[in-house]
Chain length 319, copies 2
């Protein structure tokens, strides 16, 4: 359930390109026009606008937006304008190059690997090879420490079965294998990595349910209390959340990004831009359930200017 609202009557890509081109002309830029056009077009429409813009004006729309806009607003509009596979490939590359907040950056790899569709993840890997002249998995394996690298390569290389078909017996057996690894304090056990990294999300949800039924605690809680490598533990907890309740994960990302002093605009932008066409309506609902407050109001209260206008447009409001 998307929040993105596309008007009933949409101008042609040529008309949209012209509106954008005109917004760039003269002194200053008409940011509102950019928001009204790009912020109300779906993936395919944006793709056609970018193609048409290049044909008409001989320039990549991304370059034009980079030159004309600035700050978090620019970053958000550009992320939204990229083809989603290219967008995610770029986010992954940025994450792999991050030196300071390494574990936060690695969470982006988990997020993209686990919460997007198997076909999309393959498209991201193809885009990664084209953009960076190396494969996503070799970049992870050669730049990250083990066992984190092992987990991340397995997640990023997965092409999970995507139908809602599960096996109760497998769920019980594999819940037992996960339990055993946790009891032995071996979060880096191959069984943990390969069960979480290769099984379908539907099967894993059944496995987590079997875990809860047979061992009382949720697997998330037990992993959280397992001693050992804190970074691995934190990534594994995120894998479990992203599999079990992707909407809760994104509600948490939004909440974490605006809580306290300052805003983590990159995280906020990523959550809104990547989910606006997928399940942001459900994320909004989960946000309310989890924090007993409105996600939209919380965002509006924390950001400002064109950046705010762009985000609330993606959230389905008119500016």
């Amino acid at each position: 359930m998307a929040t993105l609202r596309v008007p009933n009557e949409v101008p042609s890509p040529a008309q949209d390109s012209e509106t954008i081109h005109n917004a760039f002309r003269g002194w200053g830029t008409d940011e509102k026009a950019i928001i009204r056009v790009l912020g109300q077009r779906n993936e395919n429409q944006r793709k056609r606008i970018r193609e048409t813009y290049r044909e008409k004006y001989g320039k990549d729309l991304i370059d034009a937006l980079t030159a004309e806009l600035s700050g978090d607003f620019m970053k958000a509009v550009i992320l939204w304008t990229y083809d989603p596979a290219e967008r995610d490939a770029r986010s992954l590359n940025k994450a792999l190059k991050e030196k300071k907040k390494r574990i936060e950056a690695l969470k982006v790899i988990v997020e993209i690997s686990v919460t997007t569709s198997p076909h999309h993840l393959i498209a991201v890997r193809k885009a990664y090879c084209s953009l960076y002249d190396l494969s996503l998995e070799e970049h992870i394996a050669s730049s990250q420490p083990f066992p984190l690298a092992k987990l991340l390569v397995t997640l990023a290389s997965s092409f999970r079965y995507d139908k809602d078909k599960t096996d109760e017996e497998v769920a019980t057996i594999e819940a037992g294998m996960l339990r055993e690894a946790i009891t032995m304090k071996q979060l880096d056990h191959d069984h943990v990595l390969y069960i979480l990294g290769t099984r379908s999300v539907y099967q894993l949800r059944e496995t987590f349910a079997a875990y809860k039924k047979n061992y009382e605690n949720t697997i998330d809680k037990d992993v959280g209390e397992c001693p050992g490598d804190a970074e691995l533990r934190s990534l594994l907890q995120m894998v479990i959340l992203c599999i079990d309740y992707p909407e809760k994960h994104f509600a948490k990302v939004v909440r974490d990004s605006i809580e306290g002093f300052g805003t983590d605009e990159d995280a906020l932008t990523r959550a809104i831009v990547t989910r606006a066409e997928i399940d942001l309506m459900k994320v909004r609902g989960e946000f309310y359930n989890m924090y007993n407050s409105s996600m939209d109001n919380a965002i509006i209260g924390d950001v400002s200017g064109d950046y705010k206008d762009f985000l609330i447009t993606l959230l389905g409001s008119k500016i």
Copy 2:
């Protein structure tokens, strides 16, 4: 360099379908007609014949061939008629279910994962999910023992960078990492698995060359002499050969399949069918270099009947 010979003038898919349909009519089957048609058509032409056959006669050509042909001839023609991604998905599934000659079967996984193109391997994984309602990697991880499963999942999940671009410094460093693991007698070391499983074949060839330069022996020889898990050692040696010299690997498969008493028809068929459109000419050359004898003569001397006629047709001879 393929051995497959497609005639200059090829009948339409409708005409070819009719020839095949007529070959099935009356008492007995005209096997020679089947060989002349299917054995001289490329991948795309076979695909169109299969589609057209279904339209004209309301039956899958594979089912018709299964009903009309028999033995190794039938198995070879069917393998050749499948879409290559479907064909390899079926071979992989058969390999994963094999109980008796397990290690020989697992070599099929290595062969398909390492010697086919990254894009083809993705197509195989998609076909696998469609045919078997589970992903290739979850089938491997849940049915094979570790560390073999780890190696095989990594190989089968790879989407290697496929351009001829290498980094000499990386080659030297990673040759050192491989050497260290071998010296420590740890063939299941993560460095071994992830270097061999994620780097491009071009990069790995450079790494193997650096290994030879810096440590005298070839990496193949050092792995071969490393004590420990014999099955893992044998699979790793095959990975190295498939990366360094895929043609030598297939020459060896052909040779092993016909040497001694009896013939391993499944292996022979697989090698000829899967490489006839890719590099079987080079395989033939390597066979001569390695065994100082003609591959074609060796095959002809070992098989007979329609099966022989079909194989030599794929090898480029007229029957």
